[in-house]
């Protein structure tokens, strides 16, 4: 059976943030989310909503330079940004498996840079820019979640 996909259109950053907040209700310990979308698509905006949905009141900033930011909530949220990584072999250097073992949620911006991080059980979210203010968010749920 094919994976289930959901499509959502948003027309402002607030709507994308709200989408993230709603999606966070699906998260379980160990959930991995792979995000795809160009610069400025709204990946960080979406994760900001997810952090809020998990109950974190912290400010969610871009993890591009730090590679990973952590937020505490109903579940711990590890917000990765693989923008500066060259490939899957660098996952070891950033401690990817250690974070995975901590039982929180790992959400990954620029997931296309590290295909080796994913085993098919991850939630795949693609954000497409339709215009300066419109975004198409496609969520592909893994079979287990259906």
């Amino acid at each position: 059976m094919d994976k289930l996909t959901i499509e959502i259109k948003t027309h402002a950053p607030e709507e994308t943030e709200l989408t993230g907040e709603k999606l966070a209700a699906l998260f379980k310990p160990g959930t991995v989310v792979a995000l795809c979308g160009e610069l400025g698509a709204g990946k960080t905006v979406l994760v900001r909503g997810m952090a809020r949905g998990l109950g974190s009141g912290d400010r969610v900033t871009s993890p591009t330079f730090t590679i990973v930011n952590e937020y505490a909530g109903r579940l711990a949220l590890f917000h990765f940004d693989m923008y500066r990584l060259g490939g899957s072999d660098e996952l070891f250097d950033i401690g990817w498996e250690d974070y995975r073992a901590r039982g929180g949620v790992c959400v990954v911006e620029w997931s296309e840079n590290v295909p080796g991080a994913f085993d098919g059980s991850e939630l795949r979210i693609t954000i497409e820019k339709l215009s300066d203010t419109d975004r198409k968010i496609t969520v592909g749920t893994p079979q287990e979640a259906v």
């Binding site: 610069l39 960080t44 900033t61 871009s62 591009t64 060259g86 660098e90 250097d93 401690g95």
Partner: protein
């Protein structure tokens, strides 16, 4: 007092020896940024844990360069937060082992006060209180430096850091990484009024900032031009962009200095190297009758001398750590 200090929170691994805080005898920095350029925008073996080895080699070199023996050291200091946890751990583990082996105190230092302390090395006359804008690839913070170890964040970015915005703009324009200096170079001959770019308005704290809207505006502008087949005036786009960043940073900093009644303003972090921002700060400080402190480039990036300097003041304030010191990925100032 001689302090051996270690910095390893992100891409740079560094070991310095400082004397009484303000004097850096040596600062041995191993940076991966040179490699970034070679690899065209990616970081090879970023923050590798194998840097443990690098830290000890840099320490040996630091001692040699400073002409100091291990027995002469009075304390070991380390940047223990915030950063990439695996990377921070390298420095923390090494510093703990060194302090224990030498039987001298261990001083934990937060990375951001470290950046601010770079100013004490560059400017012997600078003393708190003052306002500091700490602006780099990973941070954009307005810090009220009330005392050497007493500070408060008064404003910060809500999304992207200013330096990150420079790098991403550079990438969209096809410039090499890290792109800040290329954007700066191109902007010299551009018209900074040619492209209308947003100055983000944020609700709530008037000293908070936002840069993701500016990043996205540049991306949109470049895409629209591509779609219409229009040629971009890259020089003017870089100039308009640099101006937008500067006009987000400089007026806020000046307003806050005025509100706090400070006549000293310091800048720290890699973005302080940008010529537009430097010039705008100079003009604004002159107009306001404020004194401006911007450290030389060599002290703007991550280094260990700044950690040693801040550690001296932490030491005077009584800060010590034991062999149970942890590394922290996140930590508020």
């Amino acid at each position: 007092m001689l302090i051996l200090s270690v910095e390893s929170t992100c891409d740079e691994t560094a070991v310095a020896i400082t004397e009484n805080g303000r004097r850096a005898l040596t600062d041995q920095i191993f940076s991966q940024t040179g490699l970034h350029a070679v690899y065209g925008g990616v970081v090879p073996e970023i923050a590798s844990r194998s840097h443990v080895e690098l830290v000890s080699r840099l320490s040996e070199r630091a001692l040699e360069a400073a002409g100091v023996t291990k027995a002469q050291l009075d304390a070991v200091a380390v940047s223990y937060a915030p950063g990439l946890i695996g990377a921070v751990l390298v420095g923390v583990s090494f510093a703990k082992a060194a302090a224990y082996a030498l039987g001298i105190p261990l001083i934990p230092v937060h990375h951001i006060p470290g950046h601010i302390a770079a100013n004490y090395i560059a400017f012997p006359e600078l003393e708190p209180p003052f306002l500091c804008l700490a602006v780099s690839g990973g941070n954009t913070l307005l810090v009220d430096v009330r005392g050497y170890t007493d500070m408060a964040v008064m404003g910060a970015t809500r999304d992207d850091a200013a330096g990150e915005c420079f790098d991403k703009t550079a990438r969209v324009l096809g410039l090499p990484y890290p792109g800040g200096k290329y954007v700066d170079a191109l902007s010299q001959t551009g018209d900074d009024t040619k492209y209308a770019l947003p100055r983000a308005h944020v609700e709530g704290n008037p000293y908070d900032m936002s840069f993701s809207g500016l990043k996205t505006a540049v991306v949109n502008l470049v895409h629209h031009a591509e779609q219409k087949g229009e040629a971009l005036d890259r020089e003017s786009l870089c100039a308009s962009f640099s101006r937008a960043v500067s006009e987000t940073l400089v007026p806020r900093t000046m307003r806050l200095a005025k509100a706090l009644d400070y006549e000293k303003i310091a800048v720290a972090g890699g973005v302080a190297a940008n010529s537009r921002i430097r010039n705008d700060f100079k003009k604004a400080a002159e107009a306001a009758g404020a004194r401006l402190f911007i450290p030389p480039l060599s002290l703007c990036g991550d280094n260990a001398a700044m950690i040693g300097c801040q550690a001296y003041y932490e030491y005077l304030a009584g800060t010590r750590a034991g062999s149970d010191l942890d590394a922290y990925a996140n930590m508020e100032l």
